[in-house]
Symmetry: C4
Subunit: 123 residues, 4 copies
């Protein structure tokens, strides 16, 4: 695509990274990015919490005409900090080019597996 597709800012209110898993699959969340444009997307993720300051400095790149499934359990900021476990949080995803964002969670805490997904909310 040469035109503009999607949005530069997306919101995901329901984040949760459980410390417990069962079976061989680990509980995890992913911010799934599609960049159908001809330029790379440089992505910044901000985390919001219920009772502490927001965290910034989480970065990712999604190449031109590529997808990137950003695993929240593998994401680190510049100081090596990861996403806190077992607390409710929310995400803002910002990009320098228009992208499309979907959020999915696989939870293997108690069930063998539960899945949920939604397109994120664009600005």
């Amino acid at each position: 695509m040469s035109g503009k597709a999607g949005s530069r800012v997306w919101f995901i209110p329901d984040g949760f990274y459980p410390s417990t898993s069962s079976g061989k699959l680990k509980s995890h969340e992913a911010i799934c990015v599609l960049n159908p444009n001809r330029e790379d997307a440089h992505i910044s993720i901000t985390l919001y919490f219920e009772d502490r300051e927001k965290m910034t400095g989480f970065e990712a790149v999604c190449g031109a005409e590529r997808t990137k499934h950003i695993r929240m359990d593998q994401l680190k900021d510049k100081n090596g900090n990861g996403v806190p476990m077992d607390v409710p949080y929310a995400m803002m995803v910002e990009s320098d080019v228009e992208i499309i964002v979907q959020y999915s969670r696989m939870d293997t805490t108690q069930s063998e597996m539960a899945l949920m997904t939604t397109i994120a909310y664009p600005l």
Copy 2:
């Protein structure tokens, strides 16, 4: 963010709070709010039913640049009334500043766990 993000009114047609759970995790629903703005969000929730009058008076606050995951099984109105169990209901979420709302349900009634989520519908 200093600009306006989201909406002041959100709708969630499919609410259900089951009285039964299995395993150690309780069946529950959450209205997940993200307030990326620099002002606190004062939130009012209205519940709609199939065959009785709507219920008002459920309140919550989501701080500036914070998230709030409102557990429907813990929410009480000013008179101490909670969300009725085992009946279909729907929700309207109103805020004095723009917010983003996602609805999620964890059901452990019969399964060990089932999950579902969707971004709510903005006015």
Copy 3:
């Protein structure tokens, strides 16, 4: 609400009504309607299939300031025909006043329970 909320036409592409269930909970789908307005909503549902003519004549009412969770396994047209089982189908939901529509499915075919949901797509 005295203003207009939602849309008069909503689409749900992924319908499926499985004939098999396990456990005590029956596999089912629901079109969940929220009518926050002060007038009743008179609702017509059209079903679309892969290889046969569309079916019309499915009706429901959602009262003013009420919700209605329309169970697809219980819905009948004027001639007593129900939703066909075990074939892919899609839905169009039309109303004479603005409503909000969410679609949910509980599947107990093979799992003890799996859930999915999404806000429908408005015209």
Copy 4:
């Protein structure tokens, strides 16, 4: 419907086709198309990956006033290539008439069954 409903371009960032299933139901994804218009919809699907060139040439037809649930595990391009398994991917769905698109996944990898769904994101 004689008017225009939906969009001609839809995006789905989170695709994944697992090679493992349990029980009698196979893990699969579906692009569920609803074409409420009076003309057939000729559909092209483009797949995006994390570290290889996009794939084009996947085609489908959804008749006038019909639905089509495109099973991604059965889709082949003109050369007989199918959707790669066990890698993250994303989808763009293009049509010559307005359609509505919903994406659903049934995963039976580890659980007996997990489901997720979302309306896709329209251009």
